[in-house]
Structures are given as C-alpha cells and as structure tokens.
Symmetry: C2
Subunit: 384 residues, 2 copies
C-alpha cells in the first residue's frame, strides 16, 4: 500500500425526506444563494422543497449554470452574491452546478482575479460555506473538493481543488432522481463506473481494502445500472446508485493506490471537439484504452475479470479479452455507444484530437506515465 492522506469533512444527509434537514444545517441567519442549472428543479418540485426548508432565511436564486460550467456565467453569480450580501451557497442539481458553486464560493473570498485560481492554479485558502442538494448521481462532486471550469472566450477547461471547497453537507434524496431522463441516468452510471476503474485498474500494490471496495462498487453498478433505467421509481435501486456514485470519487478508494485517469484525458478532447457528453467519451475510450494497455494492466485486469465479472475460465489472454468485452457490453446495455462511429465521428478526427491532446501537455499519461502520444493515437484509432 502507498502512503496517503485521507480527509473528507462533508456531511452526507441521505434518504427520502432529507431536504427538510437543510433547516438544521444551514445557519439560521444565513443569506442563501440557491444555484441551479436549466430549471428542472422547478418542474420536479425540488426547488419548492428547498425553499420551504429554508423557512424564514433570506434566499436568492441564480439559475443557468451550464453542463460544463463557465467562468463567465459563474462570475455573474459572484456579482449577484456580492450585491445581495450572500453568506451561504446552496447548489441544487448535479456535478456541474456543484462544481460551479465551489468556484463561486472560492471566487467570493479570493483576493485578486479569480481566473487565476484556474489559470495559475493559485491557492484557495478560504471560501464562502456551501452545501448541496444532489439530484443527479454521477460525478461525486457532492463529496469532494474539486471542480472543473470552462472559459468560453478562451476555449479553456481547467480544474481546481482546495481544502476550503468541500461542501459542508450534501443532501442525497433518491426520490429526486425519479424524474431524470434515461440518458442522464445512463451517463451517471458510466461516469461512476469509469471513476472507479481509473483508481482501480492500474497495478497491484497489495491494497486489499481499496481493491475490494472498488470491486464492490463496480459489481453494484453492474447489478443496478440496467435496473435504474428499467425501473425509474425503484427507491432502493436509486439509493444504491446515488451512494455508489458518491463513494466512487470521494477519495476513499483512491487513497494509497496508483491512479490512471488517461481515459478521462482522452475523453475530454472528444467532448471539446465534438460536444459529446462526458460519459459518452468515457464509454468510447475505456474499452480501447484497456485493450491497448492490456500488458501493463495484466495483473489487475485478471483480478477485475474474476472479481467483477466472474470470469475464471480460459487462458489469461482470453479472460482479459472477455473482461474488456463485458465492460463494453455493459456500457451498451446502458444505451451508451462505445465507438466513435456510434456518434458519427470517423478516424479523420484523430489528427485534431491528437494535436489538442499534445497542446494540453497530455503526453505522459496513466499510472506509469507511459501513455505517450503514440499510445493515445492507437487508443483513438481502436475507438473508431
């Protein structure tokens, strides 16, 4: 096991009816800015529940945070928060709104040009306290301290992270997911699945607990993913999905083990160039990535084959191939295409994708830093 630090102070308030608990966890005298996205929280009744729970507190709303939240939009929220003397933020929706709210919280306390938090990775020492009401299980943003923000004008998309930007609490009420479109549920399952894989499918370091936790989350997703699509009002299925997606990226399974993240980096370029959903790009890249790097990942691929998919027959090579196929079949059962051609993208894009990848400095990716541009090109080619 590698040395690690694990620290996660976010309080999880889990279960049906927990939106009411906001009253106990938002300071009594707070002036609250409720942040959200396109407005689904109005039609599904979640915003009304939130406002009821806030009771007598002064609250304001800021909607319109995009799926890939932009600096431009978030700075409008910063201005509104200043104008209204807001001292608590409440993100209501999924990863994009929560990521954006982390940035608003940091920008409000930042001494200088907030863009530097992203562009210069300036350290964030303080942030306005905030919580979240999660209605879209996928990214894990509700229980971690990181975010990814885009600058429309410059075409940049950059991450940040700070001890100051953990949500104080996150409400996870599975019933708020009932009205999600199937595509968002499917994307959430794939997103969580690949988050886990990036922290698990590397090389063995005898971290038995981390491996078994990761495998437990993956097996759970294989069981409940298709059910989450077929039975949108099945409480236990949605509850298991929600808790799994949170634990997939709250730091626990990644503590003390090598991490990969090359699939994410190659996927980001596809989103940037072709506008595909983040999860769609992961479903495209991962099977190709595992195929290209099957030798480097041999030991963990065999463990994955056996413990996640129950594959114990055949030669080692056959078991690895079967595990990669099972992964692809699972994504396709979730109705997420696993090849570029499923999205009408051909091999002619690869040149541009590679140029962007190198422009972004992504030339030594993966747990060994050996995913060179040459390796990435083979992954893209295999993903056509």
């Amino acid at each position: 096991m590698q040395n690690f630090t694990f620290h996660n102070p976010t309080r999880i308030l889990f279960g049906e009816g927990q939106i009411k608990a906001l009253d106990a966890h938002v300071p009594c005298e707070a002036r609250v800015l409720i942040t959200f996205g396109g407005g689904s929280i109005k039609s599904n009744g979640v915003l009304a529940q939130v406002q009821a729970a806030l009771g007598h507190r002064a609250w304001f709303v800021f909607g319109g945070i995009e799926p890939n939240p932009t600096y431009e939009t978030l700075m409008e929220a910063v201005a509104l928060a200043r104008d209204k003397k807001v001292d608590f933020l409440l993100a209501v929706r999924g990863g994009s709104v929560i990521d954006g709210t982390k940035f608003i919280a940091a920008a409000l306390k930042f001494d200088g040009e907030p863009w530097d938090i992203l562009a210069k990775q300036a350290e964030v020492h303080d942030a306005v306290p905030f919580g979240s009401v999660l209605t879209l299980p996928a990214t894990g943003a509700e229980m971690n301290s990181g975010g990814v923000i885009s600058y429309r004008a410059r075409g940049d998309k950059l991450p940040f992270r700070s001890e100051a930007t953990y949500p104080r609490f996150s409400v996870l009420d599975p019933t708020t997911t009932y009205s999600l479109p199937p595509r968002q549920i499917a994307n959430g399952v794939v997103d969580a699945f690949v988050h886990i894989v990036e922290q698990y499918l590397t090389y063995p370091v005898d971290a038995r607990v981390q491996d078994r936790f990761a495998e437990g989350l993956l097996v759970t997703l294989t069981e409940i993913g298709p059910q989450a699509l077929a039975e949108p009002h099945n409480y236990d299925v949605r509850a298991n999905l929600m808790w799994t997606a949170t634990l997939a990226l709250n730091g626990l399974i990644g503590a003390g083990v090598p991490q990969d993240w090359a699939t994410h980096m190659l996927g980001h370029e596809i989103t940037a160039l072709h506008g595909l959903d983040h999860a769609q790009t992961l479903a495209i890249v991962l099977p190709a990535m595992l195929s290209v790097r099957r030798e480097q990942k041999r030991a963990k691929l065999l463990q994955y084959a056996e413990r996640v998919w129950g594959i114990v027959q055949g030669t080692e090579a056959e078991r690895i191939t079967a595990a990669i196929t099972a992964t692809r079949v699972f994504f396709e059962r979730m109705s997420v295409g696993t090849r570029l051609r499923d999205y009408q993208i051909g091999g002619s894009s690869i040149g541009t994708l590679m140029a962007k990848l190198e422009e972004h400095g992504m030339t030594a990716l993966g747990e060994h830093g050996d995913v060179t541009p040459e390796v990435s090109r083979r992954v893209y080619q295999l993903a056509v």
Copy 2:
C-alpha cells in the same frame, strides 16, 4: 436502505514515516499533552519520534492510562493539562488511550462535573482539539467520536459520543505495530471482525454498498489475520490490518443499515466479572449468538456464508452451520479461545452474568430488540 447521516472529519495520515507529519498538523504554538498507557511507546521508539516531530513546541506527558481507562486516572490528566495550560492533546497508543483522551478533551471544556458526561449523558458541545498516533490496530477509536470510560469506585463502565470528540487527525504508521505482542494483534483482528459483523449480520435492507464493503473488510481479515501473527514485520499485512480496523468502525459500513451489538453487551459482562480481554469475550459470545439467532439472521447468514467463506454447497441449514463453524475456527486460528471453559469459566457464572446484564438494562438487545434475558441466557449456556 435506511436513511442516514454520515460525517467523519478526522484526517488520516497513513504510512511509514508519517509521524513526521505531526509538525504540519499540530498548531505551531500549541502546548501539547502527550497521553499514553503503560509505556511501550518509550521502549519501541514511538515517543521519541513524536517528540522529535513536535520540535520546538512545549510538550508534557501523561502516562498510565489503563486498558479500560478510568475516570479517576483521566481526571488526573485533566488537572495536569489545566496546570500546564495545555491546548492540544496527542494520544499515542490504541483505543483505550484514545478513548481516554477524548474524555480528557471534553472534560477540559465541560461546564460542571465531568462525570455527568457519562452518568447523565450530558451533551458535550466543545472539546480541546486532539490528534492520535495509533500503534495498536483494533478499536477504530482513531477515526470515530465515541469512547467508553470506567469509574473504578462505582464499578460503572459508560459510553459517550460527541461531534466535538473526533480526532483532528490520526497517524497510522504500520511499522509502529511490529513490536506488539501476538495477543494484542490477535485481539485486534477479532475486535475489528466483530465490529464489522455487528453492523452487517442482521437482516437485508438492500444496502449493497455497505454489505460489500463489510464483506471486503471481513475477507481481508480472514486473509491477513493469521499472517499478521506469523510475519510481524510484513509491512503490507500490517498496513492492511490497520486500515481495515479503522474502517471497521468509522461509521461508513454502519450508515443506512440495522445494527446489532448484542454480542458486545454480553461480552462486556464477562470482562467486568472475569477480567477477560474484550476481544476474548467477543470470540466466546459471537459463535453462540449466531447459533441461537440463526433463524432471525437466516438471510444474512447465508450471504455471509457465501461471500465471506465461499460456502455454497449443502442445504441452507448446513451452510449456516458451516459459516458459524468457520467463524469459530478463524478465531481459534488467531489463538483466541471461543468457549468460556477455555478461560476456566464454568456454567456457574451464568447466574451472575445474567443478573448484571439485567441490572444494566440489557433486556431487549439486537437489531430487532428481541434478545431478551431468556435469549441471552441461552447464548451464555451455549458458550460454556
């Protein structure tokens, strides 16, 4: 899945050499009281490492906290801390020292007679900040907020718990466990195992993640327990044991599921009456408890049999019996006796044990509250 709140702000600093990290996590100007037990941390060099890491800070020591920490001893530490104007506590050792230090931290800020924290379950709103350096993996005290304190003069042993008594950090360096006597390692494995079982072996609520995490921890203990005895200097074995014991009782696997704890309650009476180690009493009571309650726990026992012990052959009754036997055999492989007679205790004690159990109000134990005195008596009888 049941509704739950999960919150655990303790920072874990894990791995060889992490004692040095104290310098970054104890406030620079702190006046530190180092608390410990019998003094093994002097002979194994841990105290010297701690003092070196604290550098220029003013530090004082308080040794002699007992295996079952007593109010009398802890109040001496409170007096010393007041006298020395201590503003940070550092517990160095295992669960008893950490539990005791939680109480010292709370008592120092408590307005009134600190015994009321235990006797009247008075609410603890504030505590002196403290951290721990764990050298004995077993109780999980390093990452939770509870403690159990005895009052020698009254023969009482009472629990307390508060949001204010989470350690700020805990250092987990597996090499500090190398010098532990085999009995303490064995006890630690059994203690962690039964902590997990109390939160897992109840009835199904479709909490897939919690079940798989619990099973992952149990399987890990079955693999590494005997190795931890046979190879005291095997770093990875000790690292896996340390992280497993912490996760066994940090609130994660018990969130959203029913809990039992009847085995603990029956075990406490054996310790009180006969002075057995806590883990020894758990090894005695658990197999008997599972046998007596096999119908109430049928579904989870079958799951436990299959997923923890790989038992899939035979009738349901046979599989359950085999799983209970496997549990007993595992404890005995750890050199921990599983019957009262292994400790020269006969059935004649049962009357006194039962009287004490009822005196302590333990008349409706377990996840269903159906462990009546009659059931408890059968458990003790079967445990002879």
